[in-house]
């Protein structure tokens, strides 16, 4: 089966500084893949390449089998992205933001309206549709971002440190919501994080450090008998 995301030998640098070095990884369909790395490991750069905010000049990125450089439209149509920082328009309500985002994927209003009701119910924000983004709590805002990312029914969700700045309860809610979406709707997710607690033993795990993939495999296997934190420390030599 074609993987949800396939990255082969991708490198990226900013001037003389290498941000990513020959990164290769695969996100299987219908699974939760955690991308673990400390700040500055290259997670956001990798996300910027996958979302085509930056151009990948070396290597290949395929989303659902579609080469991002050759078929950017087809590849981007399959992606739902939750950025590290807020990406919704603060001047508009949640519903207006979702209609706007749906239109950016070619979904007209008559089709968007039932989908908006559906995704807002999924993220438990059905009663906040008319609220402005600025009126939401941190956890609600992240869930609204997930609703935005889901509106066009993507195959692959990219979540770049989606729980940053959230309290423990909101963090758990956002993570549980993402896992629920995978189980129920069959979407795949690439979850970038630096928090060990967010990774379950059965998750697929990619360890990214200083722009290079150190390991990819089942989290339990990578952790071995010593636990994930210890294994990560041994691999990288830094505290997460």
């Amino acid at each position: 089966m074609t993987p949800a995301l396939e990255i082969v030998d991708v490198s990226h640098s900013f001037g003389a500084v290498a941000a990513l070095r020959s990164v290769s990884l695969t996100v299987p369909r219908g699974g939760f893949t955690a991308l673990l790395g400390v700040n500055g490991a290259g997670k956001t750069t990798l996300f910027s390449l996958i979302t085509r905010l930056y151009d990948n000049r070396s290597g290949v990125i395929r989303v659902g089998g579609h080469d991002l450089r050759r078929e950017p439209g087809r590849a981007l149509a399959r992606l739902g992205v939750v950025f590290q920082s807020r990406a919704m328009d603060a001047d508009l309500t949640i519903r207006q933001n979702l209609i706007y985002h749906a239109s950016l994927h070619g979904i007209p209003g008559r089709l968007a309206r039932p989908r908006i009701a559906e995704v807002l119910a999924q993220v438990d924000l059905a009663d906040r549709a008319e609220a402005r983004v600025t009126a939401l709590s941190g956890g609600q805002a992240r869930r609204a971002e997930i609703a935005r990312a889901l509106i066009h029914r993507p195959d692959l969700l990219l979540l770049d440190e989606a729980t940053v700045g959230l309290d423990v309860k909101s963090r758990a809610e956002v993570l549980a919501l993402t896992r629920r979406l995978i189980e129920r709707d069959g979407v795949s997710a690439l979850w970038a994080t630096h928090i060990m607690d967010e990774i379950a033993p059965d998750d697929d795990l990619v360890v990214l450090h200083r722009g290079a993939v150190l390991r990819q495999g089942r989290a339990a296997q990578i952790a071995g008998g010593q636990g994930l934190t210890r294994a990560f420390l041994d691999m990288t030599g830094v505290a997460p």
Partner: protein, 274 residues
């Protein structure tokens, strides 16, 4: 899953979505509408009234007779509305980039030239609403071009609005932070406006400084003003039309280049939120 860019209707939907958002933002920011209206009205009511007494105007095309200074300056003020609107679009692009909202636009499956073009056209629609509100007030003030002029000026407004908006888009790609926008005001908007035929005819400029006259002549804003002025009086200034079309193509091409992830400044930028 069907690919959205393969359906013609999806392209229209994307454009309408972008236009709707621009309109909602415009309506939400009532201060912006007021400022866009008050600025040219202050020029018309106060500045033009003062200058009427000191500035003599000979008969120059498209006018068939002597005109009051208020009449002369009105097309320039219309273009000023569009200039400020273009810069407002530029400002909102920089703001969107700083707040992260622009990433939503740029990860859309539609090509960037189409997304930027849609944003540009949406901005022009907003500017034309502002212009006609101004022209309605100007009519009440006694500035009354031929009735059909209100129709024939529309294509000129579309083209000049597109050119000035494309210039704003291009500038927004080069501005790194919102704080730098003050520089744009000082080094782009004011020189463009004052070194043009918006406030005084070019022959007047030549009398005082041939160099300044040449600068005004090569200023694209002069040609936007003249295109509007002639269209308002049921004529076409072909030179201005060509200049405006050329500048539109140049500015828009440069903006698309700059926003292309494979080219332009974005390819070289040093990370951070988009």
């Amino acid at each position: 899953m069907s690919h959205p860019t393969a359906r013609a209707g999806a392209w229209v939907t994307a454009f309408l979505g972008i236009a709707r958002r621009e309109m909602l933002r415009f309506l939400n920011q009532r201060g912006r509408f007021l400022a866009a209206l008050v600025r040219p009205l202050v020029w018309l009511f106060i500045f033009a009234a003062g200058f009427r007494a000191v500035l003599g105007l000979s008969i120059t095309p498209p006018y068939q007779t002597y005109v009051l200074y208020e009449v002369y300056v009105t097309p320039g003020l219309v273009a000023m509305i569009q200039l400020f609107n273009g810069m407002q679009s530029s400002l909102s692009m920089v703001y969107d980039r700083e707040t992260g909202a622009m990433r939503t636009l740029l990860v859309s499956p539609f090509p960037r030239w189409y997304l930027l073009g849609s944003k540009l056209i949406a901005g022009v629609i907003v500017s034309i609403i502002q212009v006609f509100t101004f022209l309605a007030i100007a009519y009440w003030w006694g500035i009354r071009p031929p009735v059909w002029g209100y129709v024939t000026v529309i294509p000129a407004l579309i083209l000049s609005g597109l050119m000035l908006g494309a210039m704003g888009l291009f500038l927004s790609s080069a501005i790194r932070q919102l704080e730098n926008f003050a520089g744009v005001m000082n080094f782009v908007i004011f020189p463009m406006f004052f070194a043009s035929s918006a406030l005084y005819p070019l022959w007047r400029m030549r009398e005082s400084s041939p160099l300044l006259h040449d600068i005004c002549l090569y200023n694209p804003f002069t040609h936007a003003v003249e295109l509007i002025r002639f269209a308002l009086y049921l004529q076409v200034n072909w030179t201005s039309l060509m200049v405006v079309l050329g500048c539109l193509a140049g500015f828009f091409g440069a903006a698309v280049f700059m926003y292309d992830p494979q080219k332009g400044l974005w390819a070289r930028r040093k990370g951070g939120p988009a």
